[in-house]
């Protein structure tokens, strides 16, 4: 199962902080996300490597999506 983790406000948009999805075949990441999902100022890591919304996700992928932010 592909594992998706959402951080910060992205969890609110996705409606969940974590999600597992069974994928019969690889898909584009954006196909797994709601249409309202932001396109900019987000950090996407797929199996610890930088990715983007057009990246391919497989059934074994671990995807992390986070906002760009800074602690203060």
């Amino acid at each position: 199962m592909a594992q998706l983790k959402f951080f910060g406000y992205l969890a609110d948009i996705a409606g969940t902080r974590t999600k597992e999805v069974r994928l019969e075949k690889p898909v584009l990441l954006r196909e797994l996300l709601p249409s309202a999902f932001p396109r900019e100022n987000i950090v996407i890591l797929i199996d610890e490597k930088p990715g983007h919304l057009e990246s391919t996700v497989t059934n074994e992928s671990k995807v992390v999506m986070m906002p760009v932010l800074s602690g203060g």
């Binding site: 951080f7 910060g8 406000y9 932010l69 203060g72």
Partner: protein, 601 residues
Amino acid sequence: MKGYGKLLRVNLSDGKITKEEISDSMKRDFLGGRGFAVKLLWDEVKHVDPLSEKNKLIFSTGPLSGQLLPSAGKMVIASKSPLTGGYGDGNIGTMASVHLRKAGYDVVVVEGKAEKPSYLLIEDESVKVVDAADFWGRNTFEAQDLLEKKHGRNSGILLIGPAGENQIPISTIMSQKGRAGGRPGMGAVMGSKNLKALVVKGTGNVSNFDEARLREMGKKGYDEIKAKESYDFWMKQGTMQAFEWCNENACLPTFNYKEGVFEFSKELDGYVVEKLHADRKGCPMCNMQCGHVIKDSSGQSSELDYENVGMLGPNIGMKSLPQVALLNRLADEWGLDTISLGSAIGFLMEASEKGLIPEKLGWGDFEAAQRLVAEIGKGEGLGKLVSRGVKVASETLGRGSQRWAMHVKGLEISAYNCHACPGMALSFATSPIGAHHKDAWVISWEISTDRFSYNKAKVEKLIEFQRIRGGFFESATVCRLPWVEVSFGINWYPEYLEAITGERRTWEELYTMGDRIYNLIRAFWKREIPEFGRKWDYPPDRWFEEPHSEGKMKGIKIDREKYEQMLSWYYELRGWDQNGIPRKETLDALGLKGVLNEITG
């Protein structure tokens, strides 16, 4: 040029008070805030003991400060640092910024030393040095209350606690019971002048070039921020959303920066803050206030930010957010910088673990941590070892402790562990006051692109962020968080500047202004510390030598040779020689002729 006020100069030794015009060339070349501060310090503070009456303490706002604009209630406080020996400044959100501008001043330069504990009372044209006998010795919360009772709640107050009075080099300046600024010992400088507080009451208005346009754009700016899709979540967690983020990315400072993940992170993160949320506080002029208040373990209110929790939580092994909140509140009351405090306590815990000190201090020992806050604030007991910062502590302790004294240039590193973030490590190493995140911030970009690379693009990005954050935001003196956290459009700011001053500035010009400031700060370090150079631009050995032993970045550390290359690129892009000293042509191009003579002469 519109949008500016005067420079107020107060000599506490002889009581002389003068009000000076700020030249248009100063405004154009240095903008305000940090820009004004470094120019004044360069011109007026040379080769002095930071805790002597010859040092000067500068409170500096910029043209955006105090205006009805998003998050504009900010001020820079600067001096020669007693912690680092170089240029030091802090950025604080405070009503004092608003009142100072309304009183008609952009800058206050405090010189000399009062004969007895005093505070400065500024009420529009009236400026007085007042006896502070009733306030000296009080913690910052008590003193804030007493000063408000005396002068009214509609006043801006900046003050030090007992740590500043004791001239502890990691003391800071406080406001509004939770806002702090001046990490590199600005509290100690204030204490060395027998100055307890500034109380400012202003009733006028800044005269701007186009008031109507500024008002309209300010309103649009506030509306844009509230409409951002990340706004609601920001209002729930503020900077504390960084806690979970950092743990996931294995850059949470844990056990004195040995590790980047903390087993008990879910006891301390932003979701816990949401659950325990009791109140909200923040800076004036801000509609995204980031100070989340919870009840600490003794039932009292404590205002939390990511840095406080990162450094007083996992960095010292604390597992309970209410306990962390209590330590944070104590730090605020004493007027101690929470980042340096967390680093100092972490250093002592590690020293105890390694048997380098006889005292038994376990990781997460809450009782011991509480005792240490007071000892450090007084500079007594074990506190005496670390109250001058971990650099000095490690030089005193020796036995290899310099390798895990987590500082750059003497300033303790703020809460990002960089074993696996070489760009951020370089960012900390080249931050102009020592390791501090207000200048250093490439980590989000780095992780989103390629955190393991050591390429020139990373260095270029770092410099771009320094120009924006450490150059523009610190000199316009307005908070960077709307841009950073909710993607508020950065191109609002030159628009605001134009409506205020009547002058259009491009980003290229503002970048040049930022470079001018960085070069002058660099020159100040070199002039004040003759041996200053390349070897001051390195992060701690721990990041090069001791990889993480846990988490997804297990085994990762910074490659020293590749770091050297990045540092060399940094100097090349900055127009500095390979010892990190600005070249003549760089200084000349920035209008800083004569500066090189002073640092090489």
